[in-house]
């Protein structure tokens, strides 16, 4: 996951690139990373604090925007028995945090063809029979850094309610912290993803406008436009991009149409 490249700096310096940029006069606080004490500037996220301390992320870091689910973190606070969970790229360090990254937690994903399994809940039950090992301890929900009602969607799956499971699990970023805490050893997030796929494939109606557009694309309606773009020089392309017509933000639906209509 990560390796220490240098020892804790005695006097914090301003860092650049993927390293933390430290405001002048910033205070430092003590944190414990995998059991070792480091002084890191307050206000940094856990991820930046670890990088400040000299750790270098090869895996277990992705978008740094709280969406990709690559940097789940588990921590405790000094003097408190409770476990806390978060994303390292989103959670700000506090004094006396005891930190470790859980960049990946093994959770087996069932093999299936969405076209073959059909849209019934029994398909999910057959691929993930572990669902029925749930004892409703709710540790999954407590561990979720996205505040997803994990127990709620697992229960919905057992109840055969795929739509409810798909909607409850919509914010899941598949970080795996739920699976790391499950006493029933359920790979919750994989089951939820299957529910959302079945919901999209078999339950939600198809979007008519999308169908029309795909047909137009497949019929070659846009080929000439693409060819035109491909032949342009980089400078012309940039100019075209900068000068493009753009719908104003928050324009009322149906209130705007471009002046140039030949591509419509």
């Amino acid at each position: 996951m990560c390796e220490t490249k240098q020892k804790t700096q005695a006097t914090p310096k301003v860092a650049t690139g993927d390293r933390a940029i430290l405001p002048e006069g910033a205070k430092t606080i003590p944190v414990y990373i995998m059991g070792k004490k480091y002084e890191v500037p307050e206000t940094l996220t856990i991820m930046k604090a670890m990088e400040f301390a000299g750790f270098h992320f090869l895996r277990g870091a992705g978008c740094r925007g709280g969406i990709c689910g690559a940097c789940p973190t588990v921590y405790r606070m000094a003097g408190d028995y409770k476990l806390h969970f978060g994303l390292a790229c989103q959670t700000v360090v506090q004094a006396d945090m005891y930190l470790a990254q859980i960049p990946f937690f093994p959770a087996n994903r069932a093999d299936y063809s969405i076209e073959e399994i059909g849209g019934l809940p029994e398909a999910i039950h057959a691929l993930y029979p572990e669902l029925f090992r749930c004892v409703a301890c709710n540790q999954c929900t407590k561990a979720c850094p996205m505040d997803v009602d994990v127990l709620g969607y697992i229960s919905a799956l057992k109840q055969g309610n795929i739509e409810k499971a798909a909607k409850l699990s919509f914010d899941c970023i598949q970080c795996g912290l739920c699976a790391s805490r499950c006493m029933g050893e359920i790979p919750q997030y994989h089951a939820a993803q299957l529910a959302r796929r079945i919901y999209g494939r078999y339950i939600l109606p198809n979007a008519e406008h999308l169908k029309t557009r795909v047909e137009a694309i497949e019929a070659g309606h846009y080929d000439a436009m693409l060819a035109e773009l491909e032949q342009m020089s980089k400078e012309d392309l940039e100019k075209k991009y900068v000068e493009r017509e753009r719908e104003p933000d928050f324009a009322e639906v149906g209130s705007w149409s471009p002046a140039e209509t030949k591509y419509l």
């Binding site: 004892v135 709710n138 057992k158 109840q159």
Partner: protein
């Protein structure tokens, strides 16, 4: 009148015929049924191990959901859900040490001290509607239907949570009398259906359920009624295979009590989902001319 309702997972999947007919019947009787929010599995089987409290967490969490909704009573109708919910509730009411441990473990929830009463659908029917009033609401009397009330194990065991004392089957019997059926005494009314043994025996080879069907047939019972999806699986869904293998001599169509209630109340038979029962079940009702258009 409004009542909080816990359905249970099986009632939303394999035993929709138990759930939908029951809810529709109560609504036809003027009761508004409110399914509790965010419910989870009841636990299915009560854990008898004294220190195995994790298996009480599931049922207690459902009772907390009911308490949060301000419910004084929570009705349920699956025998197994009733049993696990009522027994977990018993622990929360009577055992302060276990109650405290469970409440502390569920520190994200409000404390629960057994405030909600778990009531079986049949008990609720008697208390809230009453047999006389039910009788007046019957549109299609089940005249001439020789019915056996089959309680199985978990409605009456243990006695502390039983819907009525051992050897008494009056709740279901009285309901069927109100519906105009001929209630037959049934010697095997509280015999075990074979429960999960069906998983380890070949299809149709579960002797416990075969014996029950044979006893019923021998007593001249035409139809059996249950409130348990596992009993229905063993007695109803396995029936054709028991017959094919020669383990029973004749069919005794097996129903959820709620399906026959809905039929007698004149509700649309589609609400009863007879397609989920053994094929003989629908045939018997058609032959008896009970399935009038709604």
């Amino acid at each position: 009148m409004k009542i909080s309702y816990y359905p249970g997972c099986t009632l939303k999947t394999k035993a929709k015929n138990l759930d939908i007919a029951a809810v529709a019947s109560l609504e036809a009787l003027g009761v508004e049924v409110e399914e509790i929010d965010r419910w989870n599995c009841c636990g299915a089987v009560h854990s008898l191990t004294a220190d195995d409290l994790i298996h009480q967490v599931g049922p207690v969490r459902n009772l907390i959901r009911a308490k949060e909704m301000g419910a004084e009573k929570l009705i349920t109708l699956c025998s197994m859900c009733y049993n696990t919910l009522a027994r977990a509730n018993q622990i929360m009411k009577t055992d302060p040490v276990k109650r405290d441990t469970i409440n502390r473990f569920m520190d994200e929830e409000i404390d629960y001290n057994g405030e909600v009463e778990v009531v079986h659908y049949l008990s609720f029917l008697k208390e809230a509607i009453g047999w006389e009033k039910l009788k007046q609401q019957v549109k299609v009397p089940l005249t001439g239907l020789k019915i056996g009330s089959y309680y199985g194990c978990t409605l009456q065991r243990p006695a502390e949570v039983g819907i009525e004392p051992f050897g008494h089957f009056e709740l279901m019997n009285d309901m069927f009398r109100s519906l105009g059926a001929t209630v037959m005494g049934f010697a095997d009314a509280d015999k075990c259906c074979g429960s999960y043994q069906v998983l380890s025996s070949a299809p149709g080879e579960n002797s416990a359920s075969a014996n029950i069907i044979n006893t019923a047939a021998g007593q001249g019972i035409e139809a059996l009624a249950t409130s348990c999806p596992l009993c229905e699986f063993n007695l109803g869904k396995q029936q054709q295979q028991m017959l094919d293998k020669g383990n029973i001599e004749q069919n005794v169509p097996t129903y959820y009590f709620s399906q026959l209630l809905a039929v007698a109340l004149g509700l649309d038979s589609e609400l009863c989902h007879f397609e989920l029962n053994d094929r003989q079940s629908l045939t018997l009702l058609e032959n008896k001319n009970y399935l009038v258009a709604a």
